[in-house]
Amino acid sequence: MRAFSLKLTVLLGTALGSLVFAPAFAQTTTITFYYPVGVAGPLARFIETYVEEFEAQHPDINVETVFGGNYVENQSKIVAAQRAGTPPDVAILLSQELRTLISLDVVESMQPLIDADPEGEAMIADFFPAFLLNSTLDGEVWSIPFQRSTPVLYYNKEAFVEAGLDPDSPPTTWEELIKYAKKLTQRDAQGRVTRYGIAIPTGDRSTWLTEALVMQAGGSLYDPNSDGKVVTIDTPAMRAAMQYVYDLQHTHEVSPKGVIAWGTVPNDFAAGNVAMIYHSTGSLGFIRQNADFEFGTAFLPANKQYGVPTGGGNFYLLKGSDPAKREAVWTFTKWMTSPELLARWSIDSGYVAPRISSWELPTMKEYVAQYPQALTAREQLQYAQAELPVYALQEIKDIVSKAEQDIILGNAKIEEALAEAQRRADQVLAAFR
């Protein structure tokens, strides 16, 4: 019933909107839009530009933009605003936060808006299925993908040639990666490393790459049938992943030691001090601008199989926002996630355009022809899985990443650290069962 009346309003609204054409008569709807910036550089400016263009094309809609800081700060701000009774209408939040956001009662499903739009179903079908994994719950689409990524392997082709490796065949398995990394690691006369073979970021309270390693080892960091209430940390796959990361640093000595910060790894790569890195496709733009050597991108090497989690942010509808503005919210969301805009955003930022038809556009084809590295992430989507979609997300991430850091730093044995982390995670998630 509610969905029906909403549908009716939307239809009526569209009809009225097209009837009342002159801006002078149009009633202006103001919607509030919060967005984070996930990647360095003046990306906030791009978003503001898109919004200005949208407003110019839609004189009846006024979009109030709020830059909320990074993902975490932006989400805090939204929750605070919502608790204070003034939620924004629409926002970009991490796609994997869905369950946490539902448990906090701050978001609403987008499905009714999709259903109300005759083009809705076709639009959703145009997204890569992998990017919808974190949006969908019980067949309902809660959020629309916008700035999406997967981790890829960046490698320095010049270093490859120097080390006698084929610059067109990057490592495809863990064993191969170790072999390559050993060849790529350079030492000076005193035995000090002047170029590392590989760097895998382990800092910043993130589990993104850990998840990738676990998937490659044939496991998963969570139980997909538990509705986000069971994480599986103390598993053979996780143990294998941890052993791999530990060995790169301590057994093979081909990686910088200690916890490696996420944000400075692309700099180390661009400076030529590390020959291969695991990093987000979102860093493609940065590396393209900063590396003065030829570089390639490849799938993250497989152990038992290829595997990466998707990442990045989606458009969410905020609970408690004015229902009368839903039509304007949908018009805006649809415009921002149109194939044309997503292609533009992908070229501007380095994110993967999440719509299939974006890649058919001439601008995108031209871009890919010029930078074939951008294709890797799209190709890799066939092996992509959902990113850790559990309740109490950040707390769980902290538990996993502390265990990983304890192992890397030699503060704890793999078995002990993982068993302890499992116990603590179970304790946290017990509250949701």
């Binding site: 400016r45 830059f67 204070a84 003034t86 700099n267 400076a271």
Partner: protein
Amino acid sequence: METSLGKTSSKQATAGTPGFLAQKQQKKGIQSLISSYIQDALAILLCLPLLVVMVLIVVAAFTPNTAINRGQLFSAFTLENFRIALKSANFGLLYWNTFLYTFGLLAVQLVTVTLAAFALTRLRYRGRETIFYLIFLQLFLPPVALILPNFFLLKRLQLADTLVGLALPYIASATGIFLLRQGFKSIPPEFDDAAYVDGATPLQLLWYVHLPMIKPHLAAFSVVSLVYHWNEFLWPLIATSSASKRVLSVGLASFTRSAESGAEWGLIAAGTVLVAAPLAVLFIVFQDFFVRSFSQSGIKG
């Protein structure tokens, strides 16, 4: 303007010491001149590491990011970092908002803080100590720890997302009161007695007698308040939301706080220079006023 310590101290010495001591002082003159040079050298040595950091920031701001990443700091010159930084945010508005917030707050603080410190040191009444402790305790209850309740309060007062609301939690400043209290305490009570005998009101006493004497303390507090609020990040991020109310620190955050990609050192440095420049200029001007206000303040034993 005097720049040599030798001049200043010898003048003060001859003015303040009887003749026979001044003679003795002359014998020590050369010795003290040498030790003054040693002190100069030590001062430079101490600041050397931070001088390197300072130069590094300024140089990095004018160096292409590609070169910085390779550790080649003096290799090339560019204004690109500034161009991108200025394009990334409306700096005119950011400067103006930050100026309004920090200086507006300071103006109000100077009044409330001076009055309160005066009342806590120069007036006698029952419960003075209790009130002092009550205020002093706030020195230990940083508003940062109370961000969430304060934000909800602002919402209720309809003052969220306003520059006034941003400033309200800081109007009662224990730091300022404590600092000024030290100033007031160093003024001998005889001044008050004399003023009261002449029929002055407490406000007149404060304005004409005390205020000139606590100038250095007011200056010190101004520096603290400006520096702290100019660079404050967390509270403005939470308390304001619309672009028209954004302050510098939040604007800077859009390109210094990266999450998914590499660090744009050159851009960060350029942003830092842009944000810090007004304060740096102010401080260079202020430093002179600051030092002069001490010598004029006439604090005596």
